[in-house]
């Protein structure tokens, strides 16, 4: 479903509104009801159902698909917060199933194995909202043009390393700033260079922001990581392996929720960062082979 915003075709306003309600919050990856309960008790604004957390997908390999239906139902029954779930890039039938299950937000995600190497899902064909990943402004605007109601920068999922999340957030934020500084005659060329729809390029240039909320994902492992992304301009954060691959998931989850709210307050950040136990082990992203990177899936 779509909405005309001053002639601009983007996701339905009620879907963008749900993304607005999640701002300042933490969306936590969970694989079962027990984890979902821990997440909700820690103050998660939403949970993301998936088959395996990204660091396990990396380790075990194989094809990563949508979460089993029974697991999704079990998670929906357990928590009262919105339940998101991942579908493979281009796998519109997984998305149809998630819509039938009344999932609150579908993440068309590079963390799962892509189903289509050429096309993303036509998100306007659905009555539930979509969130999609991006590495820069052009990719963000392509997904918004396809109907995404929320964007998240990709980072490198399952790495426990924040470097890619920072790179992608900086790219989007500086891309928006750059557009806002351009004259009207420059925008068509910019649209061509970005590979992004002209109408959206023009809207961003006029408003100095994206038309949908922008969250951060991929690599957040500590409260400091979450606060860093918020200070860099993220409006909320997704945490995947960072919680349930750490030593004390409940405590770390709670600390990351606190850090996301009080991201500008170093005293609070110091306090919540104390005695959390071991963080998940991290990976050096620059040493990863190209095929090991999830962020390069999708275009």
């Amino acid at each position: 479903m779509s909405e005309e915003l001053n002639g601009l075709r983007i996701a339905d306003r009620k879907h963008i509104a749900l993304a607005e309600m999640l701002k300042g919050g933490v969306v936590m990856d969970v694989t079962n009801a027990e984890q979902a309960k821990i997440a909700e008790d820690a103050g998660a604004a939403s949970v993301m159902a998936l088959e395996r957390v990204p660091s396990d997908i990396r380790k075990q390999g194989g094809v990563a698909r949508m979460s089993p239906v029974s697991k999704i139902r079990e998670i929906q029954k357990t928590v009262s917060i919105p339940v998101m779930a991942k579908a493979r890039i281009g796998h519109f039938v997984e998305a149809q199933i998630l819509q039938a299950l009344a999932i609150d937000f579908i993440d068309e995600s590079e963390v799962l194995t892509p189903a289509d190497e050429h096309f993303h899902i036509d998100k306007y064909a659905f009555s539930v909202p979509f969130v999609c990943g991006c590495r820069d402004l052009g990719e963000a605007l392509r997904r918004i043009g396809e109907g995404a109601a929320m964007i998240r920068t990709k980072g490198e999922a399952g790495s426990g390393n924040i470097v890619e999340a920072v790179r992608h957030m900086r790219a989007v934020v500086s891309g928006v700033k750059r557009l806002a500084s351009l004259g009207p005659e420059e925008l068509m060329t910019e649209s061509k260079n970005l590979g992004a729809p002209y109408d959206l390029v023009r809207w961003v240039a006029q408003h100095g922001k994206l038309p949908v909320p922008n969250f951060s994902a991929g690599g957040i492992a500590t409260p400091a990581d979450a606060a860093l992304m918020m200070q860099l301009g993220a409006e909320a954060v997704f945490v995947g392996s960072g919680i349930f691959k750490s030593e004390d998931p409940a405590k770390r989850a709670k600390a990351i929720v606190q850090a996301t709210t009080h991201y500008k307050d170093p005293d609070v950040l110091a306090r919540v960062s104390e005695e959390l136990g071991e963080a998940m082990p991290g990976l050096e992203v620059s040493k990863m082979a190209e095929h090991e990177r999830m962020a390069t899936r999708g275009w």
Binding site: A17, E20, M21, L22, K23, A42, G43, S80, V83
Partner: protein, 197 residues
């Protein structure tokens, strides 16, 4: 006159913008001591369970009880309404109980069932049509005798007031019509005038 917006989680930035459209500069509130020099408070939409956890963690409840006892107006939308209500169901959860209503959470269903509709609101006796956006919204299932209905959708109350407490199940901060925020600002201004006398 100074109005705060509880900024623990949710669409607090949209409320700050809506208040700015009424000519009021609002401040974000993340700690209870920040309530002290405020004349009114907005509790925004968001996730009520998340807001509740963060409020408990920071011991907001006694500070809000003091704020309410001083007669300072509060306005809650959606999750904010849930926190201000006397009774909360589906599931049962703690709340501040400042307005005598019983609410059911996510009462229309999940996001698929979120909707917007034209409705009628009656502020100061003047009926006014406006667009109401309901996002995984709660429903007011019971209202005490001291509660006045200010807006309805179909035959159900969706906005209500009891004394200094104003609540809505929909999100006036999502639309450009500032009439409800203006009404709340007038309520706060009235309170500050009474204090001055």
């Amino acid at each position: 006159m100074k109005i705060g917006v509880l900024a623990l989680q949710g669409d607090f930035a949209l409320h700050v913008k809506a208040l700015a459209r009424c000519g009021v500069e609002a401040v974000e509130v993340r700690k209870p001591e920040e309530l002290e020099d405020l004349d009114g408070l907005v509790i925004p939409g968001g996730e009520s369970t998340t807001l509740l956890k963060l409020m408990e963690e920071w011991r907001f409840v006694p500070a809000l009880e003091k704020f309410h006892a001083a007669g300072k107006p509060m306005f809650g939308t959606c999750a904010g309404l849930i926190l201000l209500a006397r009774d909360v169901d589906s599931p049962r959860q703690a709340s501040l109980g400042f307005i005598d209503i019983g609410v059911e959470r996510n009462a229309y269903g999940r996001q698929r069932e979120s909707f917007s509709a034209m409705g009628s609101v009656e502020l100061d006796g003047e009926p006014h049509r406006l667009e109401m956006v309901f996002i995984r919204a709660p429903r007011i299932r019971r209202a005490g005798p001291g509660v006045t209905t200010l807006a309805s959708h179909g035959d159900e109350p969706v906005m209500a007031r009891e004394g200094s407490i104003l609540v809505a199940t929909f999100h006036p901060e999502l639309t450009n019509d500032a009439s409800i925020h203006r009404y709340f600002c007038a309520l706060v201004a009235e309170g500050t005038r009474e204090k001055a006398v």
